[in-house]
């Protein structure tokens, strides 16, 4: 419990420190809005031209887009220490100070940075979710709300795990390798659309290797009342857990990598 309090305290301080430069913060937040707005515009224009994608109508596509936006940018907002800063910590040797303190390295990395500019991206995602659920006439029940919360939470944990792959690589090679991020950002761009859009190799990649489909699309499809793969409804409660399993597998690798860690010195 103490760890969570520590984390929340750090978040509050980090966000307050960024708000000290209100104009710069405002412009950068606005830029984020234009970015995510542009992505949303692409979906809107595609829907306008093509009406539907396989069995998914306009509302369903907005819903999937919103689900991905909210999940991805929540992670970037609150997990910035892992999603962005970790290679920098290694390169500058700042990670050394983490090793001296009586808390885990991951906990401290999580507490080391926040990115509140993403709030506008999350807002765009929420708008997409609301429009999507209206257009698709989703009958919201308590169970469905809970299922969506589970999907978003597990999705966040999955994305954290994906970013940790880059963290692991940065320990072995001080030069940052942008290639590693292809899976993460590629996964975001691809899985804004339901998984059955893609040919088999990509489908396997985003279901088995980086299980975006299991954490987000399977529950999303059940909420929309069009279950994927013909799976029963209870499967949607189980499949997001794959995100957590993925995270713990990566965490094992991370432990191993940390044992290999040599400071960059001075």
């Amino acid at each position: 419990m103490n760890t969570i309090r520590l984390y929340l305290h750090s978040m509050r301080m980090l966000i307050r420190s960024q708000l000290q430069y209100p104009f710069s913060f405002f412009l950068q937040t606005l830029a984020q809005l234009v970015m995510e707005g542009g992505e949303m515009l692409a979906v809107v224009l595609l829907v306008d031209r093509f009406d539907h994608l396989n069995q998914w109508g306009a509302g369903d596509l907005y819903f999937f887009f919103g689900l991905m936006s909210v999940t991805f940018y929540l992670t970037e907002c609150f997990g910035r220490g892992i999603t962005g800063n970790f290679p920098y910590l290694v390169r500058t040797g700042q990670l050394d100070t983490f090793l001296l303190r009586p808390r885990g390295v991951l906990t401290q990395a999580m507490c080391s940075a926040a990115d509140p500019r993403r709030i506008t991206c999350i807002a765009v995602g929420i708008v997409a979710l609301v429009i999507g659920s209206r257009l698709s006439a989703i009958q919201w029940t308590f169970a469905k709300t809970l299922l969506m919360a589970e999907a978003i939470l597990c999705g966040c944990i999955l994305i954290l795990g994906l970013f940790m792959i880059e963290a692991i690589f940065s320990i072995y090679s001080v030069k940052s390798i942008e290639l590693v991020n292809a899976l993460t950002y590629g996964g975001r761009s691809a899985c804004e659309y339901p998984i059955d859009t893609f040919p088999r190799p990509l489908r396997v990649l985003f279901t088995v290797l980086a299980p975006f489909a299991l954490t987000l699309h399977v529950p999303g499809a059940v909420i929309l009342g069009k279950p994927l793969f013909g799976w029963p409804a209870w499967a949607a409660w189980v499949s997001p857990l794959s995100g957590i399993i993925f995270f713990f597998l990566i965490r094992l690798c991370f432990r191993k990598a940390m044992r290999h860690y040599r400071s960059t010195g001075s």
């Binding site: 224009l45 942008e178 292809a182």
Partner: protein
């Protein structure tokens, strides 16, 4: 003129040094291209359009290949202004705008060619419906190459206007990000301009952003007939003159009120 040429050459050589970093970027870009094409293929399967799918896939590959032409900027200028070493540049017997114009042009050209050649080779090898098709006609190819060159001149002029904002405020990241995003959307990188609603296209294709890559790509795929090419080239040339004129004035005003920082 020779001074500008050698500034161009030096910058080109510098950009060429980073060949190793290019490979990772190319693999990423190819992966994104494949994802985008998979989405458009699925959409086409549901509701075929008048424009053939192969034109869309070619469009996506050409956009991905020349991505670096849109998003390459000179980080040195910002540092120079912050540290005050811009004073050295002011001592040169060159026009400051012209000097930075050829530098950014060399950077954009070399950076995008280094990436485009391997990517386009790969895209040619993909089967029809996934890959890059051959140009519509020999004339189309020649016109599109001319259009691409003009697009390069145009994007360099645009970049210099963005840099003009950098000279005004010491931290222009927000402004830069906004202008770059506008460019990515209106140049057809996020969604091919050919998939925008037809009524929008009539306006968007006249904007300067559409002159960078969209106009040459349409000449390549044959969406714009070769007979119409002179009109396109004329629009591009007009925009280059307008944008370079605005940039030149903007820089001259900035230069007058430029404060040399540091000491």
């Amino acid at each position: 003129m020779r001074a500008y040429l050698s500034a161009f050459r030096m910058r080109r050589r510098l950009e060429f040094q980073y060949r190793g970093a290019v490979l990772g970027g190319v693999v990423c870009q190819v992966f994104f291209g494949l994802i985008l094409i998979a989405i458009y293929r699925a959409l086409y399967a549901g509701k075929p359009q008048a424009m053939p799918l192969s034109q869309i896939t070619s469009y996506v590959w050409l956009q991905q290949a020349f991505f670096r032409m849109l998003l390459a900027s000179d980080p040195e200028l910002m540092d120079k202004i912050r540290t005050g070493s811009i004073a050295y540049d002011l001592c040169r017997p060159l026009n400051l705008y012209g000097f930075y114009y050829v530098r950014i042009m060399a950077q954009k050209m070399t950076g995008s060619l280094l990436r485009a050649v391997p990517m386009l080779l790969f895209a040619f090898l993909l089967p029809e419906g996934w890959g890059l098709m051959l140009p519509a006609s020999a004339a189309g190819l020649i016109w599109s190459l001319a259009g691409l060159l003009l697009g390069l001149l145009c994007v360099s002029a645009l970049e210099n206007i963005t840099m003009g904002f950098t000279m005004r405020t010491l931290d222009s990241r927000g402004m830069q990000a906004l202008l770059n995003l506008l460019m990515m959307i209106l140049a057809g990188n996020i969604l091919p301009l050919t998939l925008f609603p037809d009524s929008w296209q009539r306006v968007i294709t006249l904007l300067p952003y559409a002159q960078l890559l969209d106009a040459p790509i349409r000449l390549y795929t044959g969406q714009t007939a070769a007979s119409e090419a002179p009109r396109i080239i004329l629009i591009q040339a007009a925009w280059i003159l307008v944008l370079a004129g605005i940039g030149l004035l903007f820089w001259r005003v900035n230069q007058k009120r430029l404060e040399i920082q540091g000491g």
